[in-house]
């Protein structure tokens, strides 16, 4: 098992009291597996993804990725964990408007130690693989929504993460583009042999994944097989 999640709980403190968001989630995923999580808005799926990616801390529980426990890490190690082990694709692309597409992809590598030439080549390869080989010197403002999200996918993969997390990556895209992105994510997952977890509202897109789970009031449950 590469990813082990045990009894993850998360509560938010509100004015009207404690609000449970994640209610003891368990999950095991091997290194080359992918998973789609579906659920209604506010069900806790994005929070779960953020907890997995080390962006948020759970109230209780344990996570192990390749034997590493991000919840036991200090801030610096956690940042390193996010940089080296996790790749994020958000609903919004979050490309830096001041940087070109290539520079945006290279952004996580600023913290790494891969030789510059290599990492640039890798970024260019990734952009080629997402179909942006002709757009790498463009600014984000000069790209379409689909292109921007593809660039964001490339950026998420630049550090060759063990865990690729996508939080409604197609939420802002039309159907065709959404389908393309999802297929791209799956394709790259297969090529990179990483763990891919995607949160989506779309059953149609979820069906592309071999395994689909649902999140309902903070409880993750096995959905029907995609088949």
């Amino acid at each position: 098992m590469t990813l082990q999640v045990r009894q993850i709980r998360k509560e938010f403190i509100t004015r009207s009291g404690s609000l449970p968001v994640l209610c003891g989630i368990d999950l095991d995923l091997d290194s080359d597996k992918s998973l789609a999580i579906m659920g209604q808005s506010g069900s806790g799926k994005s929070t779960f993804l953020h907890v997995l990616g080390g962006l948020d801390k759970p109230s209780a529980g344990k996570i192990l990725l390749d034997g590493l426990d991000p919840l036991a890490m200090n801030e610096t190690d956690l940042a390193h964990y996010r940089n080296q082990k996790v790749g994020f694709v958000f609903q919004d692309h979050h490309l830096l408007p001041q940087c070109t597409v290539l520079e945006n992809v290279l952004l996580p590598s600023l913290l790494g130690s891969t030789p510059k030439v290599e990492v640039i080549q890798l970024a260019k390869d990734l952009l080629a693989r997402v179909g942006l080989e002709n757009r790498m010197d463009h600014m984000p403002s000069e790209l379409s929504g689909g292109e921007r999200q593809r660039a964001a996918v490339a950026r998420a993969l630049i550090m060759r993460p063990r865990l690729l997390l996508a939080d409604e990556p197609t939420g802002n895209l039309d159907k065709r583009n959404a389908d393309n992105i999802m297929r791209l994510l799956l394709k790259l997952h297969e090529e990179e042999k990483n763990i891919l977890i995607v949160v989506t509202h779309s059953l149609e897109l979820a069906k592309l994944f071999p395994r689909v789970m649902t999140m309902d009031d903070g409880i993750l449950a096995q959905a029907v097989s995609s088949n």
């Binding site: 610096t76 958000f90 979050h94 830096l96 001041q98 590598s109 600023l110 913290l111 130690s113 640039i120």
Partner: protein, 1176 residues
């Protein structure tokens, strides 16, 4: 429900309260900077105007004459508000029981007035019959005394005869008057600040009843001032002046007869008894005056005078008729077609022919007319200048043959130090019969101590006199002929030998055209002569003091201009801040604006709405700013007061808030803010709607059309222009200098911003990649270049502040450690100014003797202490070298005096100092090894030296420029500034050569300004020696280094203030950076969240932000510093510029800015960017 546009604007402004408050704060700062600067100028001018009111109280006009005149003239003026007064400068001393000096005020004001002066019933009543004096608060504090204690006034004795003429009294110069202090006027008393002389100080003043001072001075019914609240009295005043007010007499035969009786007729019976005239009148004259009855009565005397001495004689009580008055009289005589003679009478110590000597004889220089009347005959080819005629008196031992040499020994006519004797030889040309009806004793003016003495032996002249040389025949002559001259020479020869700057003749005789003078001749002559004499030449003029002082208070340094000038960069900073904050504020609202535009509003409509909201904020901000301006102005004034080297400013400077300045501040600040707001609003609405809807920034991330090359070209152009200004012709004109200073600085600063613009465009193209710091720095550079306008505005803010702080620093005056000959002190350790002239100066051993003599006198009642002090001081004074300078009083021209100097003090530099040289010169018209040679009288111009700052800021002139002063007779004289001192002791005066000085001010006698070259180890002792030794002269002794530092501290006070303005600018700049940073953190929180998500630690994120803003900070400060350094290059500044201090300043400013950035970024530490990212 109605919803007006106004309500909408107000509601919107309220909704965006935080952003609007930030903009409002910027406007408040801009308004306060501008209005505060204007208020400082107003306050300085207003305070000076208040000082004028406090000084003059009820007096508007005054006659402040240089000589005493008849008090009766005030009564004749018939003006109730006009009161007679004596206003003098004196020293006031407190002496102990043994008559030893305890405390002293060297320069105090003596105000002797009648009770009418006090326009306060209580004070008038107290003043009546007062036998003591009142002191003002300053005097009491200075003397450390209270009521019922005695003070001693040391006043220069009035002397009709110039003391530097050989008949002048040089021994008994100072009058001592002891008065009991009856009352001390406290500081709040409106009369305590009474002062009719220019300057900011409220001088120490002693008020004395007029009659009491007149009695003490022995000048009954004489005054030197008239005070009045009315104007327009000059014509009447002039018409009331008589020749006696000019110390002239014009007497005919009857007058002289009356004088004779006034002198001798003690029983007033119009008959001179033998007991009355015996020994007092020439015995040879008595038979001629007797009537047939053998008595000497008024008729017989008048008859004799009419028959034998039928002339009018114009004489002066000063012995010599001044050249100016003599010329006027001569002009009138020519005009009236009268026959006249000029006479110059002098005293010879010896008349010698071979071995025969006659001591102490009157000699007369007579012109051809009188020569003829005395029966002198000259051959056509005879040169009268070489001839001498002797009176043929019986007992005369002189028996020369025609052509024999007869020598005259006499003292030189002008005496500085000891009288110098000279001998000249003449050819004997004949005898003049000793007939007293022909040669009268009245050819010699009355001279107390000589002409009034019964015998030669009892003469008491003011020159070395040895009565042992008097022989019986000489006494016999005195009894027979009294002051009849024993010898005569030609007038021109006499003028050459005995004429001086005080005059060349002793009398002018006017003869009748016929046998007698027409009726009313004397009155007519006098009236016509009085018309020719300019009363201004002796100060007989009602000066409109209030108008003059008010003019001086308003026309000094333009402080508003100065402060607004130096606040320019601060105001600019504040306006940039307004623009920046408004821009940041609008950027937050970009999507709303985009939505409104998308809904169909026109750009103009939206711009108007934004502008209206902005103007509402601007209006409130400006109003609030006016209040802050007052507080800011108070702060600036307080700073100036606390840094001023003396207490004068502390006492007078108060905040003045003229309504018109507030209006001006409001209008200017509002317009400037509105322009900044308008420009930003317009830029926003012109951005594409979609960009706005997306919350896009005003700065597009796409490069605009201006490429780095064009910016580089603009930058280079401005740089060339900036440096070009450095090569403008060198000038001493401070306005041109200011133009160079601000021009070069402004251009280089602008050029720097263009280069920064190009740099931002260049770095925008640097690829963001790499590892660690390299990669983070690249990202920071990209971020900085992202919002170029914002970055440029921030850099502009910082550079303006840095410019002011750095540019001002090199002008700071440090105490010059060099006190050598070519320094500001000229190598002199001590400067002494006296209130009463020291006639012989203090140069050489005789000067030291004068000081030691003064030490002795200061301890009159304690001979033992006197001896001890003399011994002590003798030792320290033995190697002291003194240079004495002549002094014409006037306005302090230094920067310590905020009034414009209308009549600066003048110093006359002696040849000895000119030859010695020294002092530090900023510039001279000719490059001479010893610039003091420029003061040489052989120069075609009347060259003058003055301190550089004085000429630039106070006199508003410059090197090589002409400057008009008035000489003693009121005539305009042109000076040429041939040399400018730098950081010298001479900041309060103008220096000219002594010979030129004496031509301008012939009546100024003695020396009042002394430069002391002394060994520094005994300085305190020497200082004390001068203080005590010259206490009777009212000496003010200062260490020259202290003086230089005092002047420098004024400059430094201003400079500190301007640097303070720069510091405020820097604060504004860093506030701008902080605002930009805060805004960046806010608007980029999602971006920062992403960086966190990508694995950036908080340190990495902070580092990127810090690098971005630190670089901006560095570049902004760098541009300002570079511009400042360029702007100060062409100016002369402190010789030892504190480069270390500058570097520290620069480092300090950078560090401060950095700390502000760190403080702003501190919040990032706890920010949850992921949450922010999620929210988006």
């Amino acid at each position: 429900m109605s919803f007006s546009l106004g309500q909408f604007v107000v509601n919107t402004a309220r909704f965006h309260l935080k952003g609007n408050l930030a903009v409002l704060m910027g406007i408040v700062i801009a308004t306060a900077s501008l209005t505060g600067a204007l208020l400082v100028g107003d306050s300085l001018r207003g305070s000076l105007a208040d000082t004028v009111k406090n000084k003059l109280i009820w007096v508007n006009e005054a006659v402040l004459a240089q000589r005493f005149f008849n008090e009766q003239i005030v009564v004749k003026l018939g003006e109730k508000t006009a009161i007679p007064a004596i206003i003098l400068k004196a020293s006031i001393q407190v002496r102990d029981d043994q008559d030893c000096l305890v405390t002293q005020i060297s320069s105090a004001q003596v105000v002797a007035v009648p009770e009418e002066f006090w326009q306060d019933a209580g004070k008038s009543a107290q003043w009546k019959n007062l036998k003591g004096a009142w002191l003002n608060h300053q005097a009491a504090i200075g003397l450390k005394i209270s009521e019922k204690q005695n003070v001693v006034l040391r006043i220069e004795k009035p002397s009709a005869i110039p003391r530097e003429s050989f008949l002048g009294n040089r021994e008994d110069v100072v009058d001592s008057i002891t008065l009991e202090v009856e009352k001390v006027l406290d500081r709040s008393d409106k009369y305590a600040g009474f002062n009719l002389f220019p300057g900011m100080d409220a001088p120490a003043t002693i008020f004395v009843p007029l009659q009491l001072l007149q009695e003490k001075l022995g000048i009954t019914s004489k005054i030197n001032s008239i005070l009045t609240s009315k104007s327009g009295m000059q014509d009447k005043f002039r018409s009331l002046l008589t020749l006696s007010d000019y110390e002239l007499t014009f007497k005919g035969p009857e007058d002289r007869a009356l004088d004779l009786f006034a002198k001798f007729d003690r029983d007033k019976n119009q008959v001179l008894e033998k007991r009355e005239y015996q020994g007092k009148m020439p015995s040879k004259l008595i038979p001629l005056l007797q009537s047939q009855a053998g008595t000497i009565d008024i008729e017989s005397v008048q008859k004799f005078f009419r028959a034998n001495r039928n002339y009018y004689s114009l004489e002066s009580s000063q012995m010599l008729v001044s050249p100016n008055l003599a010329q006027k009289a001569d002009d009138l005589i020519q005009e009236m077609g009268l026959q006249s003679s000029q006479i110059m009478v002098y005293l010879a110590n010896n008349i010698q022919e071979k071995n025969n000597v006659v001591p102490y004889s009157v000699i007369a220089g007579i012109d051809a007319t009188l020569q003829k009347k005395l029966g002198v005959k000259l051959a056509a080819n005879d040169k009268p200048g070489q001839k001498i005629w002797l009176l043929d008196w019986n007992e005369s031992p002189l028996k020369p043959a025609l052509g024999d040499l007869v020598s005259l020994e006499y003292f030189l006519p002008e005496v500085v130090g000891k009288p110098i004797e000279k001998k000249d030889s003449f050819q004997f040309a004949g005898y003049i019969p000793a007939e007293i009806n022909l040669v009268d004793p009245e050819i010699t003016p009355d001279f107390p101590g000589i002409t009034d003495k019964l015998s030669l032996d009892s003469w008491n002249p003011p020159f070395p006199y040895d009565n042992k040389r008097i022989k019986p025949r000489d006494e016999k002559y005195w009894q027979d002929f009294r002051s009849v001259p024993k010898a005569f020479i030609d007038l021109d020869a006499a003028k050459n030998l005995w004429g001086s700057r005080f005059g060349k003749i002793t009398s002018i005789r006017v003869y009748p055209t016929n046998l007698s003078f027409p009726d009313g001749f004397a009155a007519d002559f006098q009236a016509r002569l009085l018309k020719l004499i300019d009363p201004i030449s002796v100060g007989f003029v009602f000066q409109d003091l209030r108008a003059r002082f008010q003019q001086s208070s308003q026309s000094g340094t333009d402080f508003s201009g100065l402060f607004v000038g130096f606040s320019f960069f601060l105001i600019l900073s504040a306006l940039i801040l307004v623009a920046l904050l408004f821009r940041l504020h609008l950027e937050r609202r970009a999507s709303q604006v985009g939505t409104v535009l998308a809904l169909g509003a026109t750009q103009k409509q939206v711009a108007h709405l934004l502008l209206l909201e902005g103007l509402l904020v601007a209006g409130l901000g400006v109003l609030l700013g006016l209040g802050v301006a007052c507080v800011y102005a108070i702060g600036l004034l307080q700073y100036l007061k606390s840094n001023w080297p003396d207490s004068s400013l502390q006492q007078i400077l108060k905040l003045h808030i003229p309504f018109k300045t507030l209006c001006m501040g409001f209008v200017l600040a509002f317009i400037m803010s509105a322009v900044a707001i308008f420009r930003t609003s317009r830029t926003l609405v012109k951005t594409s709607v979609m960009t706005l809807i997306k919350g896009g920034y005003l700065d597009s991330t796409v490069l605009n059309s201006k490429q780095p090359l064009s910016l580089l070209i603009y930058g280079s152009l401005f740089m060339i222009l900036g440096f070009g200004m450095l090569f403008l012709p060198s000038s001493q004109d401070h306005e041109l200098k200011a133009l160079k200073f601000f021009g070069a600085g402004g251009l280089v600063l602008t050029s720097g911003l263009f280069f920064l613009g190009a740099f931002l465009r260049y770095v925008y193209k640097i690829m963001v990649f790499g590892h660690g710091l390299d990669g983070l720095a690249r990202l920071a550079l990209r971020n900085m270049a992202r919002n170029k306008t914002r970055s440029l505005l921030t850099a502009g803010l910082l550079s303006s502040a840095a410019f002011l702080i750095i540019a001002v620093e090199p002008f700071r005056k440090e105490a010059d450690s060099n006190t050598g000959k070519n320094s500001g002190t000229g190598g002199f350790s001590i400067v002494v100014e006296t209130n009463i002239p020291v006639l012989s100066g203090l140069d050489g051993p005789s000067g030291i003797e004068t000081i030691l003599d003064g030490v002795q006198k200061s301890n009159r009642g304690n001979p033992q202490r006197a001896r001890q002090q003399v011994d002590r001081f003798k030792n320290v004074l033995k190697d002291v070298k003194v240079y004495s300078l002549r002094f014409n009083p006037g306005d302090d021209a230094s920067c310590l005096n905020l009034f414009a100097p209308s009549k600066p003090r003048i110093l006359g530099v002696p040849n000895s100092l000119q030859q010695r040289g020294g002092f530090l010169f900023s510039a001279t018209t000719e490059p001479l090894e010893n610039p003091w040679k420029l003061l040489d009288s052989s120069n075609p111009f009347v060259n003058a030296f003055v301190e550089k700052n004085t000429v630039e800021w106070m006199i508003h002139s410059g090197l090589g420029k002409d400057y008009k002063i008035q000489d003693a007779s009121g005539k305009d004289e042109l000076l040429k500034f041939a040399g400018l001192f730098q950081g010298s002791v001479f900041q309060s005066e103008i220096l000219i050569g002594e010979s030129q000085f004496l031509k301008f001010y012939p009546q100024q006698q003695g020396y009042q300004y002394f430069l002391i070259d002394a060994d520094s180890k005994d300085l305190s002792e020497i200082e004390e020696a001068f203080k005590i030794g010259l206490s009777d002269y009212g000496a003010k002794v200062s260490k020259s280094k202290d003086l230089v530092e005092r002047f420098a501290s004024v400059e430094n006070a201003y400079l500190s203030m301007f640097q303070g303005l720069g510091t405020i600018g820097l604060l504004i700049g860093t506030m701008g950076v902080a605002a930009v940073l805060a805004r960046s953190v806010w608007e980029r929180r999602a971006e920062l969240g992403l960086l966190s998500a990508l694995g950036f630690t908080q340190v990495d994120v902070v580092l990127v932000m810090l690098l971005e803003h630190a670089l901006l900070l560095f570049l902004g400060l760098g541009i300002g510093t570079l511009a400042a350094l360029v702007s100060v290059l062409p100016l002369e500044h402190s010789t030892a510029t504190r480069w270390g201090v500058l570097a520290l300043l620069q480092g300090g400013m950078f560090f401060f800015g950095l700390m502000v950035c760190v403080a702003s970024l501190w919040s990032i530490r706890t920010n949850n960017f992921v949450a922010a990212m999620r929210k988006e």
